[in-house]
């Protein structure tokens, strides 16, 4: 049994039906948790290829890479590229090779969705807005100034989309909309500065850190704090909503600490 097969066995044993049900939203979709588990397997495959368990030609190695990537949906989110790489891809798109924009989507989707999710509650809305942002970026690619930070440019478009999204929401009172606008304006700079440091790698580390949280905190983190979630979790844990907030706060502290240690 290879290393990868051993890890796969362990993963399969841990993946309960309930987890799978919670994670599956669209047919064939794979969660990022599975994605990162896949990433681990993918790395093991590569270890096997390059460290001696399977000696192959570069072309064979590449085919294996593609095969494994398709298997684990690893093309979903690639590593962040250099600025010059991004600009090379943008040039390709502007020359008419629009499918090259897929590379940009892969690279920036997760940080962009995270940015949107920090301000928009429902994941479906987050994903719709992210799609809108990418479409707007594609349509206005010629206005992107070379040398600028493409991620920051995307977030600029995202800010506009979020603004329109909240203005067109009828279920919120005018007072609450105004309040939200004012809070958004006050935190815009801090949020932008922090978001500029986000990367897919950091998010991968974060998931590893979540796995190390105590069970009670992990349940709170998995549930999130949106809408009625705190009340639901409070009921499940037989506690109060205030305690759920405090548990999440403590969990976030532990996660930050864990991220720091991972970096060190």
């Amino acid at each position: 049994m290879t290393v990868k097969e051993r890890v796969n066995d362990k993963r399969a044993a841990k993946n309960t039906p309930r987890q799978s049900a919670n994670l599956g939203r669209k047919p064939g979709a794979i969660s990022h948790i599975n994605y990162f588990a896949g990433f681990a397997n993918f790395s093991l495959d590569f270890l096997e290829i390059f460290l001696g368990e399977a000696v192959r030609t570069p072309a064979a190695a590449a085919n294996t890479y593609i095969e494994i990537s398709q298997k684990w949906s690893l093309w979903s989110y690639g590593p962040m590229r250099d600025r010059s790489d991004v600009e090379a891809i943008l040039d390709e798109v502007l020359r008419g090779q629009t499918e090259a924009f897929g590379q940009i989507v892969r690279d920036f989707a997760l940080p962009l969705r995270s940015y949107l999710a920090s301000q928009v509650h429902h994941v479906d809305d987050v994903d719709d807005l992210a799609q809108e942002v990418f479409l707007a970026a594609l349509g206005n690619l010629s206005t992107f100034r070379r040398g600028d930070d493409f991620g920051a440019w995307l977030r600029g478009i995202a800010r506009n989309k979020i603004l329109v999204y909240f203005r067109t929401q009828s279920r919120r009172s005018q007072a609450l909309k105004r309040f939200r606008d004012e809070v958004a304006a006050l935190i815009e700079g801090d949020l932008e500065r922090d978001a500029a440091g986000d990367s897919a790698e950091m998010m991968e580390r974060l998931l590893r850190c979540v796995a190390h949280l105590p069970e009670r905190l992990r349940r709170v983190v998995r549930a999130g704090l949106d809408g009625d979630k705190p009340a639901e979790v409070a009921k499940t844990l037989a506690t109060t909503v205030g305690v759920v907030y405090n548990l999440h706060y403590r969990a976030n502290q532990l996660l930050r600490e864990c991220l720091r240690k991972e970096v060190e």
């Binding site: 999710a117 007072a175 304006a185 922090d194 907030y245």
Partner: protein
């Protein structure tokens, strides 16, 4: 334990929970005033956002896939993809190989450099290694008085020049730096220092004087064996080559700490009105109080504003670009600055605003520090068009921040005229701040376009840190088609896509607007300094256009500045 207000704010932000108007106002007030609270809130929602995104299922973006033909063609070109993967892997290996050898070479150079730098002086506190950090601008040289530089590797900035982290060695004379953090530092030669960051300097010897405004506290001068940390306002430091030094606080507080070999504090003293001056001898590990001798310390370099001289054809060039309104600030009769465009309203002067004159005869508006009543308000209204776009152009020279200055300072604002919502901006130009309290990059220009008019939101475009205090800058903020553009000194300094629905027929025009110069909001009063954002400095040649300017026009206007005339 979580702060109750943080919990309430999160509940409101995430859960549509409305705590009521009183609580909302209290939360907003705390968010405005308490930086730690604001940062904590941002930290929480950001982490929650990341967790939500990474734990959610992968989305299928069918419209996007259709648009870029991505999913359909993805599988067809597997061979090409394979080739790219192989090439990418090979490229990365090459890059890593080069990187490793480069890092090894750099490490050897750094070790040798540090050894040479440290050997004759023994212990040096931590921070020396930071000289290799990225060369971002951190200050500007605002005044050079008879400066002679030591020959060698140190930087030799000129007046108005940008300072990046590095070595400064003066034989004689006095250099005054304005850091982007808001700190002003004068250095008198002979002096030898390393500037690490906007709030950290290492001094080997020399005479220093620092003024640290509110918001920039923590400015630190390191020396061999000790450090001085300013806790607000002003201190002087005379450091002899032998290592002994004198520190004196002129206003406010500073702390002096002796440092052990590991760079940690092993003793210290607080300097304030009760204990103004000490002698520090790191060799013997002593800090002794000594009589204050202010005359032994150098004065802070005085800020000298450069005059603005313009070519005689400047006004003609502006008028040729057909402005909607143009105010030259050449006269202030009956408290009004006339409009150069016939039939258009004058600017009314508010507060004690006055005009100054250059040796060559040009005049400009002077808005003095610590007077929040100063401003100009247009005696009429203007509705800037949205379909064609609009432009705001002026010359600006910012002072160093005064003690009471707010980080951001207003230049020109257009506000919907409806008196009930007199602070709903349609467009706004400001200097984006000096000091650490503001979230934006310091010494940048901000141009905001906001439609429909509102108190918050809109689309921003920022320049980089290009505005040097004491120098005049030509600034244009404009909406050109679907793009917001910001020009500084004739060059495009930043741009952003304008709001996507801006071209709707209903949005072809805006609404009658007030034009306010030098403050953010018309009716706000102290202590609401964040709503006033008073400008401190000089303004000239303000023009507004009901169409965007071309890059050539902007460049031409910026180049019509002439060299100052000798007095």
């Amino acid at each position: 334990m979580m702060d109750q207000e943080l919990q309430d704010l999160l509940a409101c932000w995430l859960g549509d929970h409305d705590p009521g108007p009183v609580r909302r106002d209290a939360l907003l007030a705390r968010l405005r005033c308490d930086d730690d609270f604001r940062r904590a809130f941002v930290g929480e929602i950001r982490l929650l956002g990341i967790l939500k995104a990474v734990q959610a299922p992968e989305p299928r973006w069918l419209r996007l896939e259709d648009e870029i033909g991505w999913s359909a063609r993805q599988r067809e070109d597997v061979d090409a993809l394979a080739r790219r993967v192989v090439r990418e892997g090979e490229r990365r290996l090459r890059v890593r190989w080069r990187l490793r050898w480069s890092l090894a070479a750099v490490a050897v150079l750094v070790v040798v450099g540090l050894y040479l730098a440290l050997r004759p002086r023994g212990f040096t506190p931590e921070g020396l290694g930071t000289t290799s950090q990225e060369a971002v601008p951190i200050a500007t040289a605002i005044r050079l008085e008879d400066v002679r530089w030591e020959p060698g590797d140190g930087a030799t900035p000129t007046e108005g020049g940008v300072i990046t982290p590095g070595h400064l060695r003066l034989q004689s004379g006095r250099l005054t730096l304005a850091f982007f953090s808001g700190v002003t530092l004068s250095v008198e030669g002979p002096a030898d220092l390393d500037v690490f960051t906007a709030d950290r300097v290492f001094c080997r010897h020399g005479k220093l004087r620092a003024r640290v405004p509110s918001g920039a506290e923590g400015f630190t001068v390191l020396a061999a064996g000790y450090e001085v940390v300013d806790l607000g306002t002003e201190f002087g430091l005379n450091l002899e080559p032998g290592g002994k030094s004198r520190v004196m606080v002129f206003k406010g507080e500073a702390s002096v700490s002796l440092l052990g070999r590991d760079g940690r504090s092993v003793g210290g003293a607080l300097l304030n009105a009760l204990r103004q001056s000490v002698e520090v001898d790191p060799g013997s590990g002593r800090i002794e109080e000594v009589p204050a001798q202010p005359e032994a310390f150098i004065p802070l370099g005085q800020f000298v504003a450069a005059p603005l001289e313009l070519d005689a054809g400047y006004a003609r060039a502006v008028l040729a670009a057909k402005p909607w309104g143009y105010w030259r600030f050449e006269s202030l009769e009956d408290g009004r600055v006339p409009n150069e465009v016939a039939g258009r309203p004058a600017l009314g002067a508010l507060g004690g605003v006055e005009l100054e004159q250059s040796p060559g005869g040009n005049r400009w508006a002077r808005l003095r520090p610590d007077d929040q009543t100063q401003a100009f308000l247009m005696a009429g209204e203007w509705a800037p068009p949205r379909d064609k776009g609009y432009a705001i152009e002026l010359w600006v020279q910012a002072d160093l921040p005064s003690a009471s200055a707010f980080g951001q300072t207003a230049l020109v604002g257009l506000m919907a005229k409806d008196i009930r919502d007199a602070t709903n901006h349609v467009a706004y130009l400001e200097l984006a701040g000096r000091g650490r309290r503001v979230p934006h990059e310091p010494c940048a220009v901000r141009f905001l376009d906001r439609w429909p008019p509102a108190m918050t939101g809109g689309t921003d475009v920022f320049s980089r840190r290009t505005v040097v205090p004491s120098l005049w800058h030509h600034v244009v903020g404009q909406k050109s088609g679907d793009t917001l553009e910001l020009y500084v000194d004739g060059e495009l300094a930043g741009h952003s896509p304008a709001k996507s629905d801006a071209n709707d027929a209903k949005d072809a025009t805006t609404t009658p607007c007030l034009l306010l110069v030098g403050r953010l909001k018309q009716f706000s009063m102290p202590p609401e300094i964040s709503e006033i954002r008073p400008f401190e400095g000089r303004l000239d040649e303000l023009a507004v256009y009901d169409h965007p300017l071309t890059p050539d026009e902007i460049r031409r206007h910026a180049r019509l500045r002439t060299l100052p005339t000798a007095p």
